[in-house]
């Protein structure tokens, strides 16, 4: 692969563009996707450097400033930019620490469900027959429940908490990856390059993982982005219902649940955690749209 400056678009000239620069060409044509990427990187940096950038500790309760409004509204203080909650904790600091939880949840859930979903889907699509039937029936069973209800009940079984919430959300996400991988594998496995590879003596594992899988990645990457944002939403919903991260963890959904009783008195304790969820999820979904445009050959140049 030739080294190409990723900014040198459009891919013109005689030499075919490298995969990466072609990808960036299509990704960057989608302005929303670039904006999403920028916002996501900002949130990521804030989360990573949370102890350095937060003005206050996320857990220290300052009894002098209970339910202080944001700096710009009447009665606000500049030291507490987004105000304080009912026990005097700085909301901005809690939100920045909350980004750590949300991004971590998204990462863990996507990793868990992608790895297990791709493995199971590969097996189903490659071997077909009875194995395939059994796997797909099991996936149908998971899909017969509303995802949030199944996650809620699973957490009730496992015990409320962040780790169990992540396990439950990974499980309800699983069928999407299994179905997608299986469909992609099924359309690839009878193609000439796979048969040629098999004739050349490639073993089953090599065929599955090195020959077929790389050619199924595009839809999986797009689905992984969607699952990332969905995981953040689901974890926040579980936190909101009191079944996810437990107080005083500064998880955004949990913060909303704690703030609910103050909705008539202090709009800021309710508004900002939800806004943080919305902005993060929106940024990831914007990137997902851009990824789809860049990776899905069907929609390319349309």
């Amino acid at each position: 692969m030739a080294v190409v400056d990723t900014n040198s678009v459009p891919p013109s000239g005689t030499a075919p563009p490298s995969g990466l620069s072609e990808f960036w060409f299509y990704f960057s044509r989608n302005k929303g996707a670039v904006i999403g990427l920028v916002i996501f990187v900002i949130i990521l940096v804030l989360a990573v450097f949370a102890p350095l950038v937060t003005p206050h500790s996320p857990s220290i309760q300052n009894r002098d400033v209970l339910l202080l409004p944001p700096a710009l509204s009447a009665g606000g203080q500049w030291t507490y930019l987004l105000g304080t909650d009912a026990v005097g904790r700085d909301i901005l600091s809690r939100l920045i620490y909350g980004a750590r939880f949300s991004l971590f949840i998204g990462l863990v859930v996507v990793t868990l469900s992608v790895i297990s979903g791709v493995l199971v889907g590969l097996v189903a699509g490659y071997f077909r027959g009875r194995t395939d039937t059994i796997i797909m029936r099991v996936m149908d069973i998971i899909l017969a429940f509303p995802s949030l209800l199944l996650a809620l009940v699973l957490v009730a079984v496992l015990g409320p908490g962040l780790v169990n919430a992540m396990i439950a959300i990974s499980l309800v996400n699983l069928p999407h990856f299994v179905r997608l991988t299986r469909a992609a594998v099924m359309s690839e496995r009878t193609k000439d390059y796979v048969i040629a590879s098999r004739v050349a003596g490639a073993g089953t594992l090599r065929l599955m993982f090195l020959t077929i899988l790389p050619n199924c990645l595009a839809p999986l990457i797009v689905q992984a982005t969607l699952a990332f944002s969905a995981a953040i939403l689901d974890a926040a919903a579980l936190g909101f219902l009191g079944m996810g991260a437990q107080p005083p963890t500064p998880e955004w959904g949990t913060m909303l649940a704690e703030a609910r009783e103050f909705i008539q008195r202090a709009w800021w304790v309710v508004t900002f955690p939800g806004l943080a969820i919305l902005i993060t999820v929106l940024a990831i979904n914007l990137m997902g749209d851009g990824l789809r445009d860049a990776l899905d050959p069907k929609l390319k140049r349309s």
């Binding site: 929303g32 029936r137 099991v138 149908d140 069973i141 899909l143 017969a144 429940f145 509303p146 995802s147 949030l148 209800l149 809620l152 009940v153 009730a156 079984v157 015990g159 944002s229 939403l233 926040a236 919903a237 909101f240 219902l241 009191g242 079944m243 959904g253 909303l256 609910r260 909705i263 008539q264 709009w267 309710v270 508004t271 955690p273 939800g274 969820i277 919305l278 999820v281 929106l282 979904n285 914007l286 749209d289 349309s302």
Partner: protein, 334 residues
Amino acid sequence: MLRFIFGRLAVLIPTFIGVSIIAFSFIRLLPGDPVMLMSGERVMSPERHAQIMTDLGLDRPIYIQYFDYLVNLLHGDFGSSIVTKRAVLDDFLQLFPATVELSLCAIILAVALGVPAGVLAAVKRGTWLDQTLMGTALVGYSMPIFWWGLLLVIFFSGYLGWTPVSGRISLMYFFPQVTGFMLIDSLISGQAGAFKSAVTYLILPTIVLATIPLAVIARQTRSAMLEVLGEDYVRTARSKGLSPFRVIGVHALRNALIPVVTTIGLQVGVLLAGAILTETIFSWPGIGKWMVDSVFKRDYQVVQGGLMLIAAVIMIVNLIVDVLYGFINPRIRH
């Protein structure tokens, strides 16, 4: 067509058995003593423990217990609540209309706004209108609806005072529940203002529950329309000199709607998941709130029965959508 329907039904049977195994295993997987979980009693003597064990059949082999459970299910016995002692099925049937009413209103709103928005965005592709509509749709798609609901309550109920905060109808009105649908019952009752009251209670939950399906339908309609607008028969219709309205409304939209109908069908699961959050926020007495309350009250018999019933509803609706889809799109029947 009949073969197609029976084929679908045959697939449902193993799914139903699988779902029943999950619901059956649920109580047995919970940490703690199953006797105490199922009887709801906290303290008991060993004799009482053994007695309940026999009563509930817990001393028998697990496969016989499962078989009994399955037979009970097929007889319509979904267990009964530990707290209220009422049959789970009775509670479900009483609360289900509230969820159906809310979900129907939400899906009607989502289709009524989503399809035109998608068509408009596709026809005006690339313009500011397209970008605004699709930008809004993506925000809706990314919305944490439990927060969205709270925001609407703060603004419309708290600040403007236009809508009530929670419930289904004002306490001033009392009339028999004929259909279980508040909108219809309030009309039948003939009480002045009852219908209006029911509508004001319904507005905010409907908007909240419709948000994500609306965004999904608008996005799906747009991409389906774009695909169809590039087809030869649309060009033919245009070159015949048909009015743009007729080309888009009749030739393009009818074919573009086929994938959209599937999307609408798939929203049933989304609606029921959304109902859990929406009903919790607005204290809407439907099955979503019922399930959440039961989880918190540790009324596990209700959770078990509710899981089974909700999964059954989703399976039946999916079957109906599949069959309808087979009707409008003959290609997939084979």
